[in-house]
């Protein structure tokens, strides 16, 4: 981490939690956990609530679809950590790693539903160019996504445009596949609370 406080500045309770995780999993505490447990009253606690609602709240999109959106947003933002983390969650949620890999390799040819493809295309543009317009929205709606689905997708876009920036700015260490596999299992079971 680029700020030493995010590695070594935590409360005793957080440090005990990190030690417990290391003992049980054999892996260090995830970087995102170190972020949300540092001064949680300032950032972590309110951030977890909005991210959990976007990713696990009631929505016409499945949890897997929303995790795929998170992975596409992260990949477009250039965040290696978040791309690996959320492609692992999406793969596990779909029970289909090939679907996720194909989407991240080429959105236009991936074997996914058209409303989802159009929504991912819009989210990628918003992340890449920081702007979308009415024509972009008409294209998503014409592909079959409902207004509610677009709003819910934009909530996911908010969450991961925020988190990807934090991960890249603070310099999250990108671990191996086993770290993300463990994280995916946890996030599917517990969500983001």
């Amino acid at each position: 981490m680029r700020l030493a406080i995010l590695d070594h500045g935590h409360s005793l309770g957080a440090r005990l939690l990190f030690a417990f995780i290391r003992r049980v999993s054999g892996q260090p505490a995830p970087e995102i956990l170190k972020l949300v447990r540092y001064r949680p009253d300032f950032l972590g606690a309110p951030m977890k609530k909005v991210v959990h609602e976007a990713m696990r709240g009631s929505s016409p999109w499945s949890v897997a679809d929303r995790e795929l959106m998170a992975a596409v947003v992260a990949q477009t933002a250039g965040s290696d950590f978040c791309t690996k983390a959320h492609s692992a969650v999406a793969s596990r949620a779909y029970s289909d790693d090939a679907r996720v890999r194909a989407t991240l390799e080429d959105l236009e040819t991936a074997p996914i539903e058209e409303p989802l493809r159009a929504t991912l295309r819009m989210l990628a543009k918003l992340t890449r160019e920081h702007v979308v317009d009415q024509e972009d929205m008409r294209s998503v709606l014409a592909a079959g996504a409902s207004r509610q689905q677009v709003e819910d997708a934009l909530a996911v876009g908010f969450a991961f445009n925020m988190i990807a920036r934090l991960a890249d700015a603070f310099g999250f260490f990108v671990g191996g596949p086993e770290v993300f596999a463990t994280g995916a299992k946890f996030l599917l079971a517990r969500g983001y609370r």
Partner: protein, 102 residues
């Protein structure tokens, strides 16, 4: 307002108006990506627009300008939340315009 938007506003209110170690004016200017000058402003702009290109040198320069690590933590958080919320607001406005025109 939906639950997720209410929670987003609570997050924004907390980082901008709640207690912090960086002055509220600095947190607000980082959120808006409009105001900080020098290395802190450069870091804020990178967080907002080119976060994947941030380097250790960007943090070192911002730190050398006098901010503590806790203040940098808050400034970066505000910049990230600000850019993400602006993008969401702009997209929601585009959606509203698209649906209003039928």
């Amino acid at each position: 307002m939906s639950d997720v938007m209410q929670l987003r506003e609570a997050l924004i209110q907390r980082v901008l108006e709640g207690d912090g170690q960086a002055q509220r004016e600095l947190r607000r200017s980082a959120f808006d990506n409009a105001g900080p000058v020098g290395p802190v402003g450069a870091l804020v702009e990178k967080v907002a627009l080119h976060a994947s290109q941030i380097t250790d040198d960007d943090f070192a320069a911002a730190s050398a300008s006098g901010l503590t690590e806790d203040q940098l933590f808050e400034v970066v958080a505000c910049a990230a939340i600000g850019q993400a919320s602006r993008q969401q607001d702009l997209a929601l406005a585009a959606l509203a315009a698209a649906t209003a025109e039928g």
